[in-house]
């Protein structure tokens, strides 16, 4: 416990509290002096909460010490290049500059936040088990549903940052990321943001769903502002993380690692980072504009002041559609990275798979308005956006065909990570196949804002992120800890989750086609959806249970897992050619790339060669 009280995390949280009180107090004082209403329904007034939240976020970063090296540099005080981490678990709740520690910090936070988002889902899924309002009112339901959405988005952003941080420097033979302090900053800024996100629950919630469309979001309770603030702050993490990753890949690759000898996961990370570096600004901007509309009466989206509510949707989706490719590309990269290992065959059409990631990222920028086919935007824009959206199917198809061709004629083994890879392919296929009807304007007129969409994107998120994320954890856990996770529990996790999940999304799509709208706290019993909803709720709880099995397995295996120091999966990748767990500064000897990354089955071939001892 003492270790916790002395940690950077605890210090940051204390400072966040103090900073928030100071900031909010200041605004309250000024408002009192100006004769404005000083207090609001939730203690402080709305401007005081927003300003307090901003000051609190900065105070967290100042208090936990992640910016202290920069402050020292600014004052001309030299610092060490590296900080040695203490042994033991407390390095994970203190500021570390080691990309592996940061990667694990991200991953563990992702799992915690994933659990939180899942809990929200269980709450409203229970409400939906039967028609009629049981224990939530409409606003509470909308808050739970909106928080489920945004909390899961944050969890996914944390999860992919975890995978990219831990893996990319190891895969390209770098000692660390290009900017280790920026890396730590990108992680720590998500903690105060996560707290603001959850705080919205206690400040009246928000009844808009995660998309926060005005004018509704301009009228929602104070919780809406804390949601906006949180997303704005998390955006910084994405932008800086993307920048850092691109710089790392550009400048710190091992000798001989030319662009078409990069591990495929690195290609996926590049595509993802290009999007998060250049598109995230738009969601921050659109939310900031609504914040300013509420705080300062600026009428950006207020028709009474000449504003246009549909403009918000353009700005919002310009990020939020490419964002879904941010969520899935690293996961698809994991699938392509692990398949050859368990099939013992090269990745079929490596260059095509690499380029398909970039293709998806690029086309992804041109499709945002397919979320707005019914919004009342200019009618003539709908058809061009249908063409561009359907084009995404082409590079996505290349990935599927290449995966199947990789499996064909292989010598396949199916331990837990491979199970999740295969599950990911099938589930993502379901998401991919149900996409084109939403992209086609005429059918989307029926499907938009129904449970069909809900089923579709849960398929893409699970297939593109959740399954590969679990695969990656089962696969690289031995690298991080020197122990492997329990196979039996891993298989229980998979066989509980996958059938339940498929039943859940098929059920969602079925009732969606028949008239079940999205984001409703209750449904008409006359529609006859009660039984299906009960099944969906039971399936949801099975998925939740399976994740509990995973969490138990994770923590149990850290201490009691079977020792696995060597090349457990018989991989060609450099990180498996050195003992586990990975040493603090990665490779003692640099390596040179002398071959192709996935030349399984080519006798005598090598991907990397380590420098000889001097």
């Amino acid at each position: 416990m003492k270790k916790f009280y002395n940690s950077a995390l605890a210090r940051g949280l204390l400072w966040q509290l103090i900073g928030t009180l100071i900031g909010a107090g200041l605004v309250t004082g000024i408002r009192a002096l100006m004769g404005l209403e000083a207090l609001g329904r939730f203690g402080f007034s709305e401007p005081a909460w927003v300003f307090g939240g901003l000051v609190g976020t900065l105070a967290f970063l100042g208090g936990n010490g992640v910016v202290s090296d920069w402050i020292k540099w600014a004052r001309g005080i030299p610092t060490h290049d590296h900080h040695e981490d203490p042994p033991g678990w407390e390095k994970f709740i203190n500021v570390s500059l080691d990309h592996k520690v940061i990667g694990i910090q991200y991953t563990l936070t992702a799992i915690i936040v994933l659990g939180l988002g899942g809990t929200f889902a269980m709450i409203f899924r229970t409400e939906l088990a039967a028609s009629g309002l049981q224990f939530l009112n409409g606003t509470q339901y909308n808050t739970m549903m909106g928080l489920h959405g945004i909390v899961m988005i944050v969890a996914i952003l944390l999860g992919i940052a975890g995978m990219m941080n831990y893996l990319v420097p190891l895969l390209i033979g770098a000692a660390d990321m290009a900017f280790p302090r920026l890396n730590a900053f990108s992680f720590w800024i998500t903690i105060p943001a996560a707290i603001w996100l959850v705080s919205s629950l206690f400040l009246g919630g928000f009844d808009t769903g995660w998309t926060g469309y005005p004018p509704l979001s301009a009228r929602a309770p104070v919780g809406m502002q804390m949601f906006f603030l949180a997303v704005f702050v998390v955006g910084w993490s994405s932008i800086l993380g993307g920048l850092n990753l691109l710089a790392t890949v550009a400048r710190m690759r091992a000798r001989g690692m030319t662009s078409f000898r990069l591990p495929i996961f690195v290609w996926a990370s590049i595509a993802t980072s290009l999007i998060s570096l250049t598109a995230t600004q738009l969601i921050g901007l659109s939310f900031q504009m609504v914040m300013f509309q509420r705080l300062f009466g600026m009428g950006f989206f207020d028709p009474a002041k000449g504003g246009n509510p549909v403009l918000f949707q353009h700005l919002f989706w310009f990020y939020s559609h490419p964002a879904v490719y941010v969520f899935i590309l690293p996961g698809l990269g994991i699938i392509s990275e692990l398949l050859p290992v368990f099939v013992r065959k090269p990745l079929f059409g490596y260059r095509w798979v690499a380029m398909s990631s970039l293709g998806i990222a690029l086309v992804g920028f041109l499709v945002w308005a397919h979320h707005m086919f019914t919004s009342g935007m200019n009618e003539y824009l709908r058809v061009p956006f249908m063409y561009s959206t359907l084009l995404v199917a082409v590079p996505t198809g290349v990935k599927f065909f290449s995966w199947v061709a990789t499996l064909w004629g292989g010598k396949i083994t199916v331990p837990t990570p491979m199970l999740f890879v295969l599950g990911g392919i099938v589930v993502f296929l379901m998401g991919g196949l149900t996409g084109p009807p939403n992209a086609t304007v005429s059918t989307d007129l029926h499907l938009h804002d129904t449970y069909f969409i809900v089923g579709h994107f849960h398929d893409t998120m699970f297939g593109g992120f959740i399954f590969p994320f679990f695969a990656a954890i089962y696969y690289w856990f031995p690298k991080a800890t020197g122990r492997r996770m329990n196979e039996f529990l891993g298989k229980v996790h998979f066989w509980l989750m996958t059938p339940a999940f498929l039943v859940m999304t098929f059920g969602m799509m079925r009732i969606g086609l028949l008239g079940m709208r999205r984001r409703i706290s209750d449904y008409d019993a006359a529609l006859g959806f009660d039984t299906t909803h009960l099944v969906l709720t039971v399936a949801g709880f099975l998925i939740f249970t399976s994740v509990l099995v995973f969490v138990y397995n994770l923590f149990r295996s850290m201490k009691k897992g079977e020792a696995a120091a060597g090349n457990l999966w018989n991989s060609r990748s450099p990180e498996w050619l050195v003992p586990s767990p990975m040493p603090a500064h990665n490779y003692d000897r640099p390596f040179e790339v002398v071959g192709e990354p996935y030349d399984y089955g080519l006798p005598g071939s090598k991907f990397v060669e380590f420098a000889k001892d001097k």
Partner: protein, 338 residues
Amino acid sequence: MHHFIIVGILVIVMAILTYVGLDGIGLMPVQASAQAIPIDWMFNYQIMAMSFLFALIVVPLVYSLIVFRRKKGDTSDAAHIEGNTPLEIVWTVIPLFAVIAFAFMGAKSLGDTRRVDPQAMVINVTASQFAFSFEYPDYGFTSNEMYAPVNKQLLLKMTSRDVIHSFWVPEFRVKQDIVPGRFTEYRITPILEGVYKVRCAEVCGGGHAGMQSFVEIVSQERFDSWVKERQAEALAASQSPEERGQLLASSYGCFGCHSVDGSLLPNGGPSWLGLFGSQTELEDGTTILVDEAYITQSIMDPASQVVKGFAPMTFNGTDAGITDAELADIIAYIMSLK
């Protein structure tokens, strides 16, 4: 080679079974509008494509998992096949053309749903939290329910008083958002008589789930007689403040939250039945007599005096621009509900 033949046959069988299965369970609600026909036509082709692609990926995947398993004791790698460029080109170019063909069909079916009949009957739809109201400009009255004759194109000119809503009748297929500050158009030609429901499809606040109205598609004769009844009512209403108040309350969407029969609506406010002259307890614990002043204050500044156990009213009379005369009529109507 025999692997390819087996998988080829299995893919075809699987694709047909999937399509027949999906088609057999009846995926869509009944077709009640002319616009539903091109949409369902398009959807049918999409289901075909989905069934084929599903089989094309899943069959070889499962087949590989069964046939190309590592044998016990075998530690060697599989054959070194790096790729096949002609094959990659094939599965890039064919999908590209398929996608363009599907987009073209999509645009064509969209065009079919947008066919304009210059004789279309106009209905002005006003949405507000959490109710629809329908004004028939040709006949000069307003209704809470939508009535329309079968086989005649309707042009709905829609706007919102507050936030974004969306007009969706699943049996009609087409959906259109309703945006404050402007008008959006919704053209539909009902082809099947029946009672349907329009439900708001864009999240619009705590009461979103309950935002719905009946849509009745009837024969021309029944529609004409309905119009006559409504017109008679409107005429009667124009003569007394209470009846005017009732129509005003309907058009401002008051009945989305307040009943007039003593019941409580989900996420709504107190019933208006017997409200006037009653004693009511406020959020801060004080008890107050419901009189003209209190009702005026509650409509024009709803957050100021909230009744205990209810959320503040989302409708704001000042923002909605209720005039003093209208207010007097509405209060007269509330007073009449004893």
